[in-house]
Amino acid sequence: MLEKYKGFGKVKAFLIYTLCDETFSIVSSVTPPEGVEPKYFYLSISLLDYLYWVFGTLLGGLLGGLMPFDMKGLDFALTALFVVLFLEQIKKKGNWILGLIGIACALLSRVIFGAENMVLPALAIILITLLAGRKKLCS
């Protein structure tokens, strides 16, 4: 992101402010199409995500109780999003091993530290793995 958002001036502040998981996932997965200025490409993604978030939350809060059908399982959409973005990421050359590292480290942390406390240890394990394997992963 440091590299992608370089030199965007005032727009950068907004891009940083709206850099949530989902926006990060998309921005790091896609490249701006030819003929589209990267600045406005990333700004559009961030702004749309932001608005979806705000209005989606508002709608959910106002209408959440009125849903006509059973919503059970709808939250799987987030899992589905990350699965798809994972596929998009490991499609790039040499990236499958990195995806595997992410899954393996996260699973390890989940098994050792449990569902509620897995995130920080997982990040630590990932950091150690990536730094230890830097020479191999760079080539």
């Binding site: 992101m1 399982g73 798809v84 994972f86 596929l87 990421q89 490991i90 990040l123």
Partner: protein, 112 residues
């Protein structure tokens, strides 16, 4: 536990400040003119696929494997998403159909 309005506002503020701080820090430490150390650039390059792996596992962290339905709805739906996505390469289609299949599985097939 029921929170009072003041507690809710303070919690939201704390979370918002935490989120802004974590997002802002790297950009403040390494402004445009300053080249970040190579190790930071390296991590920036390799982290995205690793993070997606972590996020997928994180989403599934509370799925019961040892008790019924043994994570089967998740496993089936994810397998379906992978096949569908490799075949049609359409992000919205994969997410939409995958979620619909999962909702069907947990509501109609694996009913506990």
């Amino acid at each position: 536990m029921q929170l009072t309005p003041v507690q809710i506002i303070l919690t939201v503020l704390a979370v918002a400040l935490g989120a802004i701080a974590t997002r802002l820090t790297p950009f403040v430490l390494f402004p445009d003119g300053k080249r970040p150390p190579e190790v930071v650039t390296y991590l920036g390059n390799v982290l995205p696929p690793v993070m997606m792996g972590l996020l997928v596992v994180y989403c599934l962290k509370s799925v019961p494997i040892l008790s019924y339905p043994h994570g089967l709805p998740e496993l089936i739906s994810i397998a379906f998403i992978v096949v569908l996505h490799l075949w049609r390469k359409n992000v919205l289609l994969s997410i939409g159909c995958g979620t619909a299949l999962y909702m069907f599985l947990v509501q109609a097939v694996f009913v506990s």
